[in-house]
């Protein structure tokens, strides 16, 4: 087997989960749905994080009981294992293209205004493919290196908007519709659950199950709460009436800075730093999908599926983020319903297939 998982420590694993949770939480949402009925985005993020941690703990518990290091060990024990792996691979694929697609729109709308999306995508494809082929160790160690500067950029971005924060923008908080908040948290589950799912797929490289569990907990909680803080800052910067129609709210937050503010020219630098992180995260998800695919379908090398999934991801991104009525509807459907790709198969994976005992087999 040439799966190129390698070996990495708890810090690296926590760093990639943290990055993925932050990027997913802040750049993978449908503004119309999230801010359509007021502003509870930060609460939704925290609820989705709790739901995802519960699923993660359930899987880790099952691994401890049955003795396995990664998700494929559980899938191997489950009934209809291939049918259960396919939605998870799809979930990781969608989780990879959502933040990248969001950045693609931002970059073509506001930075390279004369370029087409396809041109920008051509630059994304080689880096995505290269990282996916190089494997988990390269990806997670790069995440560890990138993490401090990314955290610094988040702090700088939140501080630069300090003068623009107003408390009244938080209202109305849609407490009258708690069911709506829970539904939004449910649909946000893909972006909080995908980092943990990807970590579970490459669990073999995390040395042991305990290290994986701790890294998952630390990364998901730190990343999820950072994303919730960033969403809270966003809610203080813009009212929900503007947010629900805003294509790139975090980039808009960076350019709201006044001319005399020393952080005025920070927007482009931070945008490309976040874009780099999004490419790394997309590669992480695609690589995890490759490993899951290879282990479930018996492919002995991760590189062919890496090439395949990178190509599919970039193509899907180009199709889905092409601004037309049909693609907008499809994209909204994906944002709202893709949670089912994780929340339905995971409980089924936890149910162990009944093995035929020898005595039964002999009597037959």
């Amino acid at each position: 087997m040439n799966l190129r998982i390698g070996t990495f420590g708890k810090q690296e694993s926590a760093a990639i989960v943290l990055l993925a949770s932050f990027i997913g939480g802040c750049f993978s949402f449908d503004s119309r749905a999230l801010f359509g009925n007021g502003n509870a985005s930060y609460l939704v993020q925290i609820l989705a994080l709790i739901q995802s941690l519960l699923l993660f703990e359930a899987v880790v518990w099952a691994l401890r009981v049955r003795g396995g290091n990664d998700l494929s060990a559980l899938i191997g024990d489950a009934r209809w294992k291939k049918a259960l792996a396919v939605p998870l691979i799809l979930a990781l694929l969608i989780a990879a293209i959502q933040p990248l697609g969001s950045f693609l729109v931002t970059v073509t709308e506001y930075v390279f205004v004369e370029s087409k999306q396809v041109t920008v995508c051509l630059y994304l494809l080689p880096s995505l493919f290269l990282l996916t082929v190089l494997g988990a160790e390269t990806i997670v160690r790069t995440a560890r290196v990138l993490l401090p500067i990314l955290l610094l950029s988040i702090v700088a971005a939140l501080l630069s908007g300090l003068g623009q924060y107003r408390w009244y923008r938080l209202y109305p908080i849609p407490f009258r519709d708690p069911y709506g908040i829970f539904m939004l948290a449910g649909s946000a589950q893909l972006r909080t659950c995908a980092p943990l799912l990807a970590l579970l797929c490459i669990g073999e490289g995390t040395q042991d199950r305990m290290a994986m569990r701790n890294a998952g907990r630390i990364g998901a909680i730190a990343g999820g709460l950072t994303a919730a803080a960033a969403l809270f800052a966003l809610s203080l910067t813009f009212p929900y009436t503007e947010l629900k129609m805003m294509p790139s709210p975090f980039y808009r937050m960076l350019v709201e800075v006044r001319a005399e503010n020393p952080t005025l020219r920070l927007d482009r630098a931070v945008l490309f730093l976040w874009l780099g992180a999004a490419v790394l995260i997309a590669a992480f998800y695609l690589y995890a999908a490759c490993v899951l695919f290879a282990k479930t379908f018996g492919v002995r090398d991760s590189r062919p599926p890496a090439l395949l999934l990178s190509g599919i991801a970039v193509t899907l991104m180009l199709v889905l983020y092409y601004d037309s009525e049909l693609t907008v509807a499809v994209l909204q459907g994906l944002y709202q319903n893709s949670w089912a790709l994780i929340s339905v198969p995971i409980p089924l994976i936890l149910i162990r297939r009944k093995r035929r005992t020898r005595t039964c087999a002999a009597s037959e």
Partner: protein, 384 residues
């Protein structure tokens, strides 16, 4: 093979060198103005900074304009007719003509202007009383080639004197989108000594941009504010009434006001905000408490007890705040931002959007309470 691969990979990093443009090829737009045109619906005026000018400054500022149907049309026309490529990367001030602002058409026109040509709603906004070309030319001076002075002056005026609001276009957009308040923008004009009446009235000499008795290098002044009902400008507040409105919005920091005492003696008092104002809304009733520190100029010349002076200042300010509110209610402008507190009672966006806040605001009764703390006691005649 690896070397060829590395060279190909490095080539992909050179993408920014393709179609690159030298920095000297750009001319930077510093101010953007839009007003009603004579032949076409809109007139877009830009102040452009380009290489040249005197030995000292090395740049020259020019005012260029084009009439057009849309902002992008004006931009393309001006770009084609100007020797350098126009860049909005350094633009930081937007002026809207008063005639256009009173019609309310500027929002739709400007909505299509932002984003694409590197123009962002973080611009400061002023309402121009006179033709924008005259207003911009009044700001151009050899001593200030970057036109920085006038922009920082708007911010400084809000912080240090409170006679004009420092509002960005994004804040204006927020007001227009129904966030629970109406916009209040800085008011600018050339110093032609034509008086502008402010909404509440009562001042012999209202401090308003374009009506100041000033002879200076800069012929354009900013003072007072233009108040809006949604996206339509409905009136002007002078410097004093702007300051009082800012006391309620919470943006007031410091300012100086003159008060005529019952004995006919006029005192000047510097006011400081000590706490954020407290506003409570209960149906059609509201209460506003404003906390100020008052520092009277030459207190030894004031023949009044501390407590009497304090009570007098409080009563004066309460009366004036009430008058400003009534004038604003009359033109249906919630420039004081009571809607920002009204929205707190709602737990659903649909309920808030279905509620006609302005209908209640027009008839709302507000009780103002001003708490003044004197920093220096005046001369007390009884202690002599």
């Amino acid at each position: 093979m690896r070397r060829i691969g590395m060279i190909l990979f490095c080539l992909t990093l050179l993408c920014s060198c393709m179609q690159s443009k030298n920095i000297d090829e750009y001319a930077y737009v510093l101010n953007v103005g839009v007003e009603r045109g004579t032949t076409m619906p809109y007139l877009v005026t830009l102040v452009v900074s380009s290489p040249g000018g005197s030995e000292e400054t090395k740049v020259r500022n020019e005012v260029i304009s084009a009439e057009a149907m849309s902002f992008s049309e004006a931009y393309e026309t001006l770009n084609a007719a100007y020797p350098s490529r126009l860049s909005f990367a350094r633009a930081s001030l937007l002026a809207i003509g008063e005639d256009l602002a009173r019609s309310g058409e500027q929002t739709e026109f400007l909505n299509f202007a932002f984003g694409k040509p590197d123009l962002w709603p973080n611009l400061r906004v002023v309402i121009a009383k006179e033709p924008i070309r005259d207003v911009f030319e009044g700001w151009i001076s050899e001593a200030d080639p970057s036109l920085r002075r006038i922009k920082t002056a708007v911010g400084d005026l809000e912080k240090s004197s409170g006679i004009t609001p420092d509002t960005g276009y994004s804040m204006y957009l927020e007001a227009v989108s129904g966030a629970g308040f109406d916009a209040m923008l800085a008011y600018a004009g050339t110093n032609e000594y034509t008086l502008t009446e402010d909404l509440p009235g009562g001042e012999a000499y209202p401090i308003v941009g374009g009506s100041l008795l000033v002879e200076s290098l800069l012929n354009t002044s900013v003072a007072g504010s233009a108040v809006f009902d949604g996206d339509r400008m409905v009136g002007v507040l002078d410097g004093r009434h702007t300051m009082e409105t800012l006391m309620v919005t919470g943006a007031f920091r410091r300012g100086e006001l003159a008060f005529r005492l019952p004995d006919g003696y006029t005192i000047r008092v510097t006011l400081y905000r000590t706490h954020a104002p407290k506003i409570r809304i209960d149906g059609q009733q509201a209460s506003v408490t404003v906390y100020l520190e008052a520092d009277p100029y030459a207190p030894q010349t004031i023949a009044m007890e501390s407590e009497t002076l304090k009570a007098y200042l409080e009563a004066q300010l309460e009366t004036e705040l009430d008058a400003v509110l009534k004038a604003l209610q009359h033109v249906n402008s919630d420039a004081m931002g009571f809607g920002r507190y009204a929205v707190k009672r709602f737990y659903s966006a649909a309920d808030w959007e279905a509620y006609d806040w302005k209908a209640d605001y027009r008839t709302m009764r507000v009780v103002f309470e001003v708490n003044v703390m004197l920093s220096h006691s005046p001369h007390d005649p009884e202690t002599e």
